[in-house]
């Protein structure tokens, strides 16, 4: 790592990397042939190859978004990215069979330990593909399907074919098109009717190589009356050149089902994180996005819920931390298409050392949707004068029976708060850490405890040495 990169990241503790020891690596750059080669390598059905190619053509024609951080977006060099990299011969179900360097990486990230203690299933993706995968026996016996996406397509093509691109069509946006063209890895989950998956299922995404593109694709279907909590974490080494992470996540909650999707995104600050996440909520179902963005260079991500069924409910609880050179452009989109649907958006952001946090939200109520309720709260904490916070809320309400609340605040840490905490023995950095952790508490309390502790620790690290 060069000095600039080191300065930019400070104490990013996941910045280590392994020697790149790939078994298959595609040349840099993207052409239709690359897309076809990925599909062929994976031995996919023709319909999937066709979707990929269509998506690629759309991607190639589609202009870059003219909103968000255009300067950063236009700096992406699509020709400098590796679109597929296989590091392991297969997906193992025993950590001892995973190549040692990769296993060590996940050991350092604490994944096998977490798996033993409190997870219902784990998938660990390294570069383009899953290297490890497991599901608890009892869940398997109840008919829960949990695969990495490539295996999901092989084992259950009929389900994948039915739902793939049904929530996020490839033409949705440039990066959804890119993902659909070159997707690899991600998770496929089906929870049968009435089954409650009590322990969270976790996916961990790790980029190791330089200039890597990671394009995982996740599809979760919760059948009637079922529930699941899916957690994803992600990190990458710190390099002075950029990598691209562009995922698509599609959730389908059938009648009465609940899906909670939690993310703690902690990419290194050389990663572009451009992700499309959307769920469709049928009658009386609930979709919750719990979305934490700590790392990356530029994140553009707006978890969305289409409230299609009457009485369905959406929650988006998100936090964003932006330090030096980072822009977190995040938010939420809720589409109230049916009557008596409810939603809640809570967005909290902190910016520091010249970082920039943006909230970008869309709330839509369709003409036919009666008696919808929504509450949106956006709070920003700006830690110094070099940093920037802005909000872009859009509301399109076509039904006058809707009951909407929107609150927004921008605050600073007061010198009285710092003095009070320092009078209780906390150094200035520690005091700042306490205030910041407190600010994010409405988010962290939604996370499994292990993640909450980790997140608080990360934020505390970010506060260290930051005060002049």
């Amino acid at each position: 790592m060069n000095d600039d990169a080191q300065d930019a990241v400070g104490d990013y503790r996941y910045g280590f990397h392994d020697p790149e020891d790939s078994t298959i690596r595609f040349d840099k750059g993207l052409t239709e042939q690359v897309v076809r080669d990925i599909s062929e390598l994976k031995n996919e059905p023709e319909w999937m190859t066709d979707i990929r190619v269509k998506a690629y053509r759309h991607f190639a024609e589609r202009v870059m978004p003219d909103w968000g951080n255009c300067e950063m977006l236009n700096a992406i060099d699509f020709d400098a990215i590796t679109y597929f990299l296989r590091s392991s011969k297969g997906t193992e179900s025993d950590w001892d069979d995973v190549p040692e360097a990769i296993k060590n990486t996940f050991d350092r990230l604490g994944i096998p330990e977490a798996e033993q203690k409190w997870l219902g299933g784990v998938t660990a993706q390294y570069e383009s593909e899953a290297v490890y995968h497991s599901l608890r026996d009892d869940l398997e016996q109840q008919g829960v399907l949990f695969f990495d996406m490539d295996s999901g397509l092989r084992e259950h093509p009929e389900i994948v074919k039915k739902y793939f691109c049904s929530v996020v069509p490839y033409s949705d946006n440039k990066f959804a098109a890119l993902n659909t063209a070159v997707w690899s890895g991600g998770s496929f989950i089906y929870v049968p009717k009435g089954v409650h998956v009590e322990m969270p299922i976790q996916a961990y995404f790790r980029i190791n190589a330089k200039n890597m593109g990671q394009f995982e694709r996740t599809l979760i279907i919760a059948d009637e009356g079922s529930s699941i909590h899916y957690v994803e974490g992600c990190t990458a080494p710190t390099y002075s050149t950029e990598s691209l992470h562009s995922a698509v996540v599609e959730l389908i909650a059938m009648e009465g089902a609940t899906i909670r999707y939690s993310t703690v995104q902690n990419w290194s600050v050389n990663v572009y994180n451009l992700v499309t996440k959307r769920g469709i909520a049928h009658k009386n179902s609930t979709i919750e996005w719990v979305d934490g963005n700590i790392g990356s260079k530029l994140t553009m991500k707006y978890p969305a819920v289409i409230l299609k069924g009457e009485g369905s409910h959406a929650e988006v609880i998100s936090v964003a931390y932006s330090g030096s050179g980072q822009h977190q452009d995040a938010g939420a989109k809720i589409h109230h298409l049916a009557s008596n649907t409810t939603s809640r958006i809570l967005s909290k952001s902190i910016c520091k050392n010249g970082g920039r946090s943006s909230y970008r939200g869309l709330l839509q109520v369709s003409p036919k949707a009666q008696n919808c309720r929504s509450k949106i709260v956006c709070d920003a904490l700006v830690l110094d004068e070099d940093s920037q916070s802005d909000t872009y809320p859009t509301m399109e309400v076509a039904n006058s029976s809707a009951d909407l609340e929107h609150e927004a605040s921008v605050s600073k840490v007061s010198s009285d708060q710092l003095f009070y905490l320092m009078c209780r023995g906390h150094s200035e950095d520690e005091a700042m850490g306490l205030i910041v952790n407190g600010f994010f508490e409405p988010f962290t309390r939604e996370l499994p405890m292990e993640y909450a502790v980790e997140l608080n620790r990360l934020l505390q690290l970010e506060m260290e040495g930051s005060i002049g």
Binding site: Q417, C423, G425, N437
Partner: protein
């Protein structure tokens, strides 16, 4: 002779260029309880803040020694770790930080390796909260967030009891308390070990009905104009401050 805890000599303090404390001298020995009485604006709270090292207050001349060493060398948190404690007149709210976690963290910060184990701490905490008639639901609330005046003061006293300071500075701890709360808070103060030194800053004499001072100082315009024993507090309550003005 008792050990000296705090010595102020000819202390001058300014805030934004305006002198508030004008040549104050004071010695507090171990175990002594000093009360400073004065009207609003006389410089009482400034003294409390400057003792803890609030950055807005500038010492323009004079010295402060704590346990025989110059205090200015210590950062705010180092003063707390060295055994100084300020009970705030207006404690800040820290949203999202639960009282229980905050107390534990503060005790660990101040006492370092000599802090109680988690289990001993819980026992201690329970006892102290009972003494102050604090319900255990306090522990899961956010620090001072939405607290009533009385609740804030109880939390201040609870922190003092847990942190076991060598020098406790109580800034207007009695303000905003009804008589029942005042009694509870006073009981808390009186349960401090006898070797603790205290500096009680107050507007009224009523706290001093419950907490007996060894010395009382009347403060006007940034300086002590009269010092005496507990009887001075009663005299000030009866006669006000005008008779002391030059």
């Amino acid at each position: 002779m008792a050990e000296e805890v705090l010595r102020l000599s000819d202390l001058h303090v300014s805030v934004e260029g305006t002198e508030i404390i004008k040549g104050l001298s004071l010695v507090i020995n171990q175990g002594e309880v000093h009360a400073i009485m004065g009207r609003n604006g006389s410089g009482k709270s400034t003294l409390a803040n400057v003792l803890m090292g609030h950055p807005a207050y500038e010492i323009t001349s004079g010295e402060i020694y704590y346990q025989g060493k110059p205090l200015v060398d210590l950062e705010v948190h180092e003063r707390a770790r060295a055994g100084m404690f300020l009970s705030f007149q207006y404690p800040s709210a820290i949203p999202g930080v639960q009282v229980g976690n905050f107390l534990r963290k503060s005790v660990n910060s101040v006492q370092g390796e000599s802090a109680l184990s988690a289990r001993e701490f819980r026992v201690e905490l329970k006892q102290r909260m009972e003494l102050l008639s604090m319900d255990k639901t306090f522990l899961s609330r956010y620090v001072n967030d939405g607290f009533s005046g009385g609740e804030k003061k109880r939390l201040e006293i609870l922190q003092m009891l847990l942190l076991q300071p060598k020098l406790a500075i109580l800034d207007e701890t009695d303000s905003g308390l009804d008589i029942d709360a005042l009694k509870v808070v006073s009981e808390g103060i009186n349960s401090m070990p006898s070797q603790t030194s205290s500096l009680i800053i107050t507007h009224y004499q009523r706290l001093l009905d419950y907490v007996k001072p060894d010395f009382v100082h009347a403060m006007i315009d940034g300086n002590f104009v009269k010092s005496g024993g507990p009887e001075l507090a009663i005299e000030l309550e009866e006669k006000g401050y005008d008779w002391l003005e030059v």
